[in-house]
């Protein structure tokens, strides 16, 4: 799974609500839910040091 441009997003400007990322070439808004396989893979790549999630704007 190829993941790029990962960045937290915030609906209220204070709390993170999802991760915006390009996954296998498509834009995804990934919920912060460990049962979501995209979120699990993002966290696996972060843990492996191959992906960084930027802070929300």
């Amino acid at each position: 799974m190829i993941i790029t441009q990962a960045q937290y997003c915030s609906a209220d400007g204070e709390n993170n609500s999802c991760i915006s990322a390009i996954i296998n070439g498509e834009h995804h808004a990934v919920p912060l839910d460990p049962a979501n396989s995209d979120y699990a893979e993002i966290m696996r790549q972060v843990e492996a040091g191959t992906l960084t999630i930027a802070d929300a704007d």
Partner: protein
């Protein structure tokens, strides 16, 4: 209409037994595979896809496995054996010899909530039988494997395709695994993997449970090495017991609903104006909309959407580019929010719809 009475003169005692009706399984809902008839293709509507990344889903519930991009394509076709309407076709785009730790193929992951009755990982583990129709331009022994979520338990099998470009029905019986960890949650219960080419690291002893991810055994055919080779599959069925029963055809609506637990294509990039619901302004250049899913999804889904000039609109109020972001989500509904580029009055609302023939919006909770 005259009734025919059955009695001991016309039907011997015990002539019809439970075992004759069904062997170790159910009459309905036998098939653990979703979209085994390859009828559902929400993402691509029959268009060919050449995956560039591992875990790329093509037909519903079937994903591509690959170590190197763009070596083969997958698509829904109407080349079928009798009794079917669709199959999945793989075509070699660029012939390639897999390295030791490389593989190419496709898979389906089965949710653990649907496999708990198999008792895998216990002394009561039950035998399974897989059956499918297959056709290939390349004859030989092909690798298949059943694996657990951690991919540290696998049962590699070889099946033979004896005639080129001819439909053949294959049956594989697999003894249940009494060891290992097999999830019975909404995670991955088991994985079925069809190999189209694999390096030596994936070759293990056939017809036995082993540790690691065995996808085949020495001598298996590496289909991916053959330029322009084709491979078709349909009628995939995985069921309890040692007997392959006739394929369980489900209605299109039933099969689609099962697929939608994992993926819902709300707007498919081929229709200009698709209503999503209503949206309302929430100030700060932002609008929000709640979307309810047609079935309860496996997990909170990812929102998969594209963007382009005025791809979305709140009709009569504002058009904007996308993509969608999400908050307040669960398995039944999600709140989408998006930048409008200009501040709307709080509560200002309207019909929220796509505004370009290329707009796409989907919800994804794949395993």
């Amino acid at each position: 209409m005259a009734l025919i009475k059955l009695n001991t003169n016309s039907l011997s005692d015990n002539a019809v037994t439970t075992d004759k009706i069904v062997n170790d399984g159910n009459l309905g809902n036998r098939n653990l595979i979703i979209n085994g008839s390859m009828a559902i293709d929400q993402r691509n509507g029959g268009s060919s896809v050449t995956p560039t990344a591992d875990q790329t889903y093509v037909l519903d519930r079937f994903g591509a496995g690959l170590s190197v991009a763009s070596k083969f394509s997958l698509e829904q076709t109407t080349t079928v054996p009798a009794g079917f309407k669709n199959s999945m076709k793989a075509t070699v785009v660029s012939a390639y010899t897999p390295g030791a730790s490389e593989w190419f193929g496709f898979f389906q992951k089965v949710e653990g909530l649907n496999t708990s009755h198999l008792d895998f990982g216990t002394s009561n583990a039950k035998t399974l039988t897989l059956s499918f129709w297959v056709r290939s331009s390349v004859t030989g022994d092909y690798g298949f494997s059943l694996a657990n979520s951690a991919q540290n338990r696998a049962y590699p099998v070889l099946y033979n395709i004896s005639a080129a470009d001819t439909w053949e029905h294959k049956t594989i019986t697999i003894a249940g695994d009494t060891s290992g960890t097999w999830l019975t949650t909404n995670g991955v219960g088991l994985i079925l993997l069809w190999s189209l080419g694999a390096g030596s690291s994936f070759l293990q002893t056939a017809n036995a449970w082993g540790t690691g991810l065995g996808l085949g055994t020495t001598g298996q055919t590496n289909w991916i090495t053959n330029a322009a080779a084709t491979f078709y599959i349909t009628g995939v069925q995985l069921e309890l017991g040692e007997t392959a029963t006739p394929f369980e055809h489900r209605s299109y609506g039933d099969e689609l609903a099962r697929c939608q637990r994992y993926y819902v294509q709300l707007i498919n990039g081929s229709d200009h104006s698709v209503s999503i619901g209503s949206a309302l302004g929430s100030g700060a250049n932002q609008a929000r909309a709640v979307v309810q899913f047609p079935v309860e999804m496996r997990s909170s889904p990812s929102i998969v959407s594209n963007s382009g000039t005025n791809y979305f609109t709140i009709e009569g109020i504002i058009s904007f580019n996308g993509p969608m972001l999400t908050t307040y989500k669960n398995t039944r509904a999600a709140m989408l929010y998006f930048s409008t580029g200009t501040t709307l009055t709080n509560g200002q609302s309207g019909v929220f719809r796509s505004n370009n023939a290329s707009t796409s919006l989907a919800f994804k909770a794949e395993l």
